[in-house]
């Protein structure tokens, strides 16, 4: 049975790996780098009302599912953090080298710059990070990612102003994981706080928050 499962996993990996050579790839390369906004929209805009984004926005809280917890228990303590980000998908591309390049800033999302809201001070990899709102982006490097918290808020993710960087953290990354079609960020509880789990394609990194 295990062997059968294993074979399925293997088949899955082979199938996914082969998607990188899809002929559609060339067409998609004409879009701006790191931007999946301009591909076909699922519905047309009506007047001034925007169509639903191809890379839809999403939001994750810690504690996980905080808004639902609050619905169930109104006297719950305030949340610790939330991240607001847009979710591009692979669409027959591979994260490396089709979408990201090592050493080049990546917005950790799409469209509007990704936002991390800290409702209280936390400690990240030994550094104190004050409560507040941050623009968050990443510089992927081989074997590690640099996660940057920056003060340039309410901006579009394509252009980062590194002179406004506030904190930089290097986190190790894991590769060879099952492929995630959509870019995903989610918090998970740890003994001393939580991790912000950042996953796309077969790559995952965790930013540890201690509080």
């Amino acid at each position: 049975m295990r062997l059968f499962h294993g074979s399925l996993v293997f088949l899955f990996i082979v199938l996914n790996a082969s998607c990188g050579n899809d002929p559609k790839e060339n067409k998609e390369d004409s879009r701006p780098p790191h931007d999946s906004v301009l591909s076909a929209q699922s519905e047309p805009p009506v007047g001034n009302f925007a169509a639903v984004d191809v890379s839809p926005m999403d939001m994750s809280y810690f504690p996980v599912d905080y808004p639902k917890l609050k619905m169930a228990n109104n006297s719950i303590a305030p949340p610790v953090a939330r991240v607001i980000y847009s979710r591009p998908h692979l669409g027959n591309r591979r994260l490396f080298p089709d979408i990201l390049k090592h050493g080049e800033a990546w917005r950790l999302g799409a469209n509007e710059a990704t936002e991390l809201d800290l409702y209280k001070d936390v400690s990240i990899l030994g550094g104190r990070v004050k409560a507040g709102r941050y623009n968050m982006y990443c510089v992927p490097q081989i074997g590690k990612w640099t996660i940057v918290l920056n003060s340039n808020l309410d901006t579009w993710g394509l252009k980062q102003d590194s002179t406004l960087d506030l904190y930089r953290f290097n986190i190790p990354i894991t590769t060879g994981l099952p492929v995630q079609e959509f870019f995903t960020m989610e918090f998970e509880k740890t003994p001393k706080g939580c991790n912000l789990d950042i996953s796309w394609d077969d790559v995952s990194g965790k930013l540890p928050l201690v509080f």
Binding site: V9, F10, A50, D53, D58, M71, E112, W156
Partner: protein
């Protein structure tokens, strides 16, 4: 030799499987995806183009349910009942500076937004209880504002609930549109 190979493959596959099970269950993309609108409209895009002419005043974070052929107002959204004006997490309006809405001064900050929908008017509600899901535990004692706005008909129906900010005769307004209806909430920063 053949058996050894099989054994090696089996070990490899079990290893892979453990990677599979070690991976947390990640959330799928929402059926009603979230979106954001800013005032001034497209502020983040204007910002990287260095074309902003006024500071950021407000934004709304909301999720976008689809019509999908259903009659919405008076049916899916019942007249006279509280509606969350969105989906999933409660819709959030953030004011970056104080604003006057319907003659009332509203402090800067984050608010949840709800509506009571009727045939000719909507009552738009701003509430202080944030970071909550939908309108299921709506608490009227946390209201900061209730304001009645007229309903306008649209010629072309809007498939996904949409919110945008516009400036009409010099006055900014939050425009909410879905199906064949639109309402506008004017505010003065």
């Amino acid at each position: 030799m053949f058996m050894k190979k099989i054994l090696a493959f089996t070990v490899f596959f079990i290893g892979l499987q453990q990677l599979v099970t070690a991976q947390p269950v990640l959330p799928p993309v929402d059926k009603s995806p979230m979106d954001v609108s800013y005032y001034p409209a497209d502020y983040p895009l204007l910002k990287i183009q260095e074309k902003t002419s006024e500071p950021c005043v407000a934004r709304v974070l909301y999720s976008r349910p689809k019509k999908e052929g259903r009659p919405i107002f008076g049916e899916l959204v019942e007249f006279g009942k509280l509606w969350r004006m969105g989906a999933n997490e409660a819709t959030e309006l953030e004011l970056y500076k104080p604003a006057t809405i319907a003659g009332k001064k509203i402090a800067r900050g984050r608010y949840t937004v709800y509506a009571i929908v009727n045939e000719k008017t909507w009552t738009i509600i701003l509430n202080k209880e944030t970071d909550i899901w939908g309108s299921f535990k709506y608490n009227q004692s946390k209201d900061v504002l209730r304001v009645e706005v007229p309903v306008e008909k649209l010629e072309t129906p809007v498939e996904s609930l949409a919110m945008t900010f516009e400036k009409v005769k010099g006055v900014p307004q939050l425009v909410v549109a879905w199906d064949n209806i639109k309402v506008a909430l004017p505010f003065n920063p």
